[in-house]
Amino acid sequence: MRTGLARASVKLSRNARVMKEHGSGMDLELGTVMAKQKERTAVLENAEVCAPEWNDILEKMVLIRKFEEASEREFRKGNIGGYLHVYSGQEGIVAGILTALGSEDIVFAGYRDHAHALVLGSDPKALMAELFGKRTGLSKGKGGSMHLFDVAHGLYGGYGIVGGHLTLATGAAYALRYRNTDRVAVCYFGDGAMNIGPFHEALNMAGLWGKQGMCPALFVIENNGYAMGTSVERHSALTDLSARMRAYNIPAEKVDGQDVFALRGVADRVVRQIRETGHPYCIEAITYRFSGHGAADILQPYRTKEEVEEHKHRDPILILKKRMKEVCGLTDDDISRMEKEAAAVVAGAVKFATESEEPAPEELFRDVVSGSGEDRFHG
């Protein structure tokens, strides 16, 4: 563990490298962002880190990790079908940002969407049941892992077409303002999604609508360095992804995605700003995915084992634990209790999903269009 933390600081500099090469985003000078973030983190350390909320955040992150581990296990057992993309390593991005939202705010995600649901408050049981394709699932088993919806908790979907949901989030943000609310729409997407046409069309419209204060959207780039097996350098002509956002007149800043404190500090500030101005903003979270792209990505020929191992030293959960130990006196006992609780929740979810029934056959014809279903089943 000690060695791990020692090496973590080595990796911190990789993260810093990304920031350094590209500048920080906004109009800040090179390096200033890192300093500012440290500053903000420091503020958090002193004033807020030991608030009970941070305990909850750590709990959520631990829960996500356990949940993802379980989902990978259940996939291998054949209990989960289709594609499965887990969030391990990236937990900080949802924990640090979504906890800055109000209860009325809404979220759009890609197919790597379990973490978003968990942080928003979805029932892990219903989530696992969805992955199992059971009638007790969030969407009655009809969507699966890639299409999590929990509208009651603000989750307006996981989407399977890369970059296809940016337009939805942009339109949803417009609607929130059109209806005179001060709600905010958050949209997560990967680095690879930035090269697809609908991304471009959506972001330009977001930038335009922002000028009228009609686009209260936070765009979050989950920059984990790869689109499947293609690194950012190989898929983006301009590797400074924040700079690309500014081509839409959308301010963007890079944040260390493994540092949930930094993320939360930025998120608090920009969510407030978006709420006030109705103008979109972008957080580019520099992160890393610990597992394969999807459950089928076993070989991972595009990266070395060493690279993965190195990044594991910058596990966002480790970093948060360490800070909370240092600052708030979190103990190893606290942590292991937390882990046990999370494991129990996940085990309960798996049990629930296992024992749940599959969807009734007539579900096949329901939800095609409004009111469809009941009278159409002829199986």
Binding site: S139, G141, T167, G171, Y178, P198, A202, V369
Partner: protein, 339 residues
């Protein structure tokens, strides 16, 4: 369908297909402030076909949104609005451009209700003209009934007259589902009677017999319906053949019952469609007739369609590429074994 349950006198007004669409938009925007419009050059420019004339002035820029040239953006943002309770109506300058939005329409708008397990509604209306005949050549002269009709989750309408255009567009806007509303540029100027009733709603999935006849059934919709009617008139005058003509009005859901009923009477059917034959709309209609009322048929169901080529620019070639009245007449004679 207007105001079921209570009898009242409804006055009729003779208006154009274009004005019918315009009126539907205005009435629904007046009725429900959640209705809003998105499109290219629908505001300041007032629409290339002037459907949205005066709308920006009347409703303001928040409700009449001039978008960039970004069909995927238009369709997708409208979907996001719909998920949050608005009722966006998107204008495709022409439907040819909607290819750019194919993923948004076919893989998102059509399916989100389903894969969310019914957690959201999707009241997006996408409307605009389609069709050939104006020498716009290959990229700008297409029809999309079978293209969209194939996808569950969508409603696909193709009205042939002002009354249906108005009543179906109003139904579309008041509904909860995505509607692909296929207008035909050649029909915009066509006038016909429309009930003067703000609640004039025409339902989806109701085909109608627009001309009665006992010798043959001609099935069509949109602009080709008028070709079919013209052929029917000529056949009656010249040959004493009385064709029953059916307007499908909606391609999805497709109401075939009136067609089957008619074929039970006429025992013969011709289907008329503007575009390419292979995998075109007429194939579904013909296959469905045969599948269901095979024993009633005294002749094969014959399809009249456009030629199977990208639309050429030259006027003479374009005229060769689209269906003509004579072809309908010939097809009818064929199923009557009269030639």
């Amino acid at each position: 369908m207007s105001s079921p349950g209570r009898e009242r006198i409804v006055f009729m007004a003779e208006i154009s297909y274009r004005d019918a669409i315009r009126e539907a938009l205005v009435e629904e925007m007046d009725r429900d402030e959640n209705v809003l419009l998105l499109g290219e050059d629908i505001g300041i420019y007032e629409g290339t076909f002037r459907i949205t004339q005066g709308m920006l002035k009347k409703y303001g820029a928040k409700r009449v949104i001039d978008t960039p040239i970004a069909e995927a953006g238009m369709a997708g943002t409208a979907a996001g609005m719909a998920m949050l309770g608005l009722k966006p109506v998107v204008e495709m300058m022409t439907f040819n451009f909607a290819f750019v939005a194919a993923d948004q329409i076919l893989n998102h708008i059509a399916k989100i209700r389903y894969f969310s397990g019914g957690q959201v509604d999707m009241p997006v209306v996408i409307r605009g003209p389609q069709g050939a005949g104006m020498q716009l050549s290959a990229q700008h002269s297409q029809s999309f009934e079978s293209f969209y009709g194939h996808f569950p989750g969508l409603i696909v309408a193709a009205p042939s007259n002002a009354s249906d255009a108005k009543g179906m567009l109003k139904s579309a806007i008041r509904g909860k589902d995505p509607v692909i509303f296929l207008e035909n540029a050649a029909l915009y100027g066509l006038k016909s009677e429309v009930p003067d009733d703000v609640n004039h709603l025409v339902p989806f999935g109701k085909s109608v017999v627009v001309r009665e006849g006992s010798d043959v059934t001609i099935v069509s919709y949109s602009r080709m319906l008028h070709l079919s009617l013209a052929a029917a008139a000529t056949l009656s005058a010249d040959e004493g053949i009385e064709a029953e003509v059916i307007d499908l009005r909606t391609l999805r859901p497709l109401d075939m019952d009136p067609v089957f009923e008619s074929v039970r009477k006429t025992h013969r059917a011709v289907v008329v469609q503007e575009q390419w034959k292979p995998f075109g709309a007429a194939a579904e209609i013909a296959a469905s007739i045969t599948e269901t009322v095979f024993d009633e048929l005294d002749a094969p169901v014959v399809r009249v369609t456009g030629e199977d080529v990208p639309m050429p620019y030259a006027r003479n070639l374009e005229l060769l590429a689209v269906p003509h009245e004579e072809q309908v007449i010939e097809a009818v004679k064929r199923v009557l074994y009269r030639n």
